[in-house]
């Protein structure tokens, strides 16, 4: 059979098709990135419990009312310029950071000491952590072997053990003899009113995040020679084990304990 010419396909309308697709995607998608402050809502407690006594020095209480005024309770009073808020939070974390254990004892006893109204740090060394791990292991084993034990209690004991294991790992990574830790009760508390605007509310969160970022960034540069932002962004992408450990050390050094109080009026 004679060779026949294969007819060419007319590709002239290809551009039209591509344009159509392009315009479809232009219309249905957005370029702006969604950014937000991630927070935890505390678990609901079924049985009301008596409130835990917390020393004033461990509370950084921010009040924001419906008129847009911001106060720091029992510390600086009214804040005129909201941009100063992050510096105040920094001060809250760092005031007693450089005190030695002995100096901290003196400061706690002296009501006139400038550091008295700020949370204190504790220093845990490897020996102590190892002892606690042994204790937690024994305790866990004992609870597991008890008859009719509530699985929630076993869970709780296991959590204690893993907490100390994490600390051991963190100390190893930290590379010093002691792991400084801020008082576990130290926290920032945000109290708003029903009509406080969302803008003011997020501004406070913004300042808190800024302060925590600065603290962790400084520590991160000192320990890992890398900025905190770089590590956390890399972790978002590849979820590597190494970065997870780095981030958990930084979180242990500067925990972000924020409490948001439900407004009463």
């Amino acid at each position: 059979m004679a060779k026949r010419d294969i007819p060419e396909i007319n590709a002239g309308s290809m551009a039209d098709i591509a344009f159509l697709l392009l315009i479809f995607f232009l219309v249905t998608t957005t370029m702006d990135r969604d950014q937000a402050y991630k927070r935890r809502i505390p678990k609901k407690i079924d049985v009301p419990q008596p409130p835990v006594e917390i020393q004033n020095r461990n509370i950084f209480s921010i009040l924001a009312n419906s008129a847009g005024e911001v106060y720091i309770e029992k510390r600086d009073g009214r804040i005129q310029n909201l941009d100063d808020l992050s510096d105040k939070v920094l001060e809250f974390y760092q005031k007693n950071e450089k005190l030695t254990p002995d100096e901290a004892l003196v400061a706690a006893a002296n009501p006139n000491h400038p550091g008295n109204n700020y949370p204190f740090y504790t220093w845990t060394d490897e020996e102590f952590i190892k002892g606690e791990i042994l204790k937690a292991e024994e305790d866990l084993e004992k609870t597991e072997n008890t008859e009719n034990v509530d699985p929630a209690i076993v869970d709780f004991k296991a959590q204690i053990l893993s907490k100390w294991m994490d600390k051991q790992k963190a100390l190893e990574m930290y590379g010093k003899d002691y792991l400084p830790e801020i008082d576990y009760q130290a926290h920032c508390r945000i109290t708003v009113q029903q009509a406080t605007t969302y803008e003011l509310f997020t501004k406070i969160h913004s300042e808190l995040n800024e302060a925590i970022f600065q603290l962790r960034d400084e520590a991160s540069k000192e320990i890992f020679n890398e900025s905190y932002g770089v590590i956390s962004r890399r972790f978002d992408n590849d979820q590597s084990r190494e970065d997870a450990d780095k981030l958990s050390l930084l979180k242990l050094l500067y925990p972000d304990n924020f409490i948001e109080v439900k407004p009463k009026r």
Binding site: A18, L22, F25, R33, Q35, K43, K44, Y198, S206, F213
Partner: protein
């Protein structure tokens, strides 16, 4: 002697457009990669405030591990009067028993639970880890957000995020 001969009537040569589809496809792929699909067109107006050091929600969005709730002034001005302080909630594409409940804080529990059931097959996380992102207007009262938090607490959906526009350089 003239070398430049004026020719009588010669039509201009046609521009070769065979590479046009390539160019357009290139643009198309750029936009497909660089953008994310719109979740929904909210029926409330939201101007979100700005802030610094916010967490990027895009990775969660691409894995669709996040639910957006919008809090703003209803575009339909006649409806605005019905709500507390004129602000209403918009919960996207979940069937609601009645249109009024679409804007009600009380329905957020059902909305979140439905959304979670829908994605349970794909997302292996417990509901307490699935983020609820609140996109609220600058002037929205925080009281409503705390009402939402109480509702979310009931079903153990314990991660919330407050949307802002990040100004810091990335």
């Amino acid at each position: 002697m003239s070398k430049f001969k004026k020719e009588g009537k010669k039509s201009a040569p046609g521009v070769n457009t065979s590479s046009l589809p390539d160019i357009v496809f290139m643009l198309l792929f750029f936009f497909m990669v660089a953008t994310t699909t719109k979740e929904a067109d909210p029926t409330v107006e939201v101007k979100i405030p700005s802030g610094v050091r916010a967490t990027d929600m895009t990775p969660y969005k691409q894995r669709s591990e996040i639910d957006f709730a919008y809090l703003g002034v209803p575009r339909n001005k006649a409806r605005a009067a019905e709500f507390d302080m004129g602000y209403a909630l918009f919960l996207d594409n979940v069937e609601q028993p009645s249109p009024g409940e679409l804007y009600n804080t009380n329905s957020i529990r059902k909305w979140k639970q439905d959304k979670y059931d829908e994605k349970r097959a794909r997302v292996k996380k417990p509901i307490s880890e699935v983020i609820t992102c609140v996109k609220a207007d600058k002037g929205a009262p925080t009281g409503i957000i705390f009402d939402m938090r109480t509702e979310l607490q009931e079903i153990e959906a314990l991660t919330i995020a407050y949307a802002v526009r990040d100004n810091s350089n990335i």
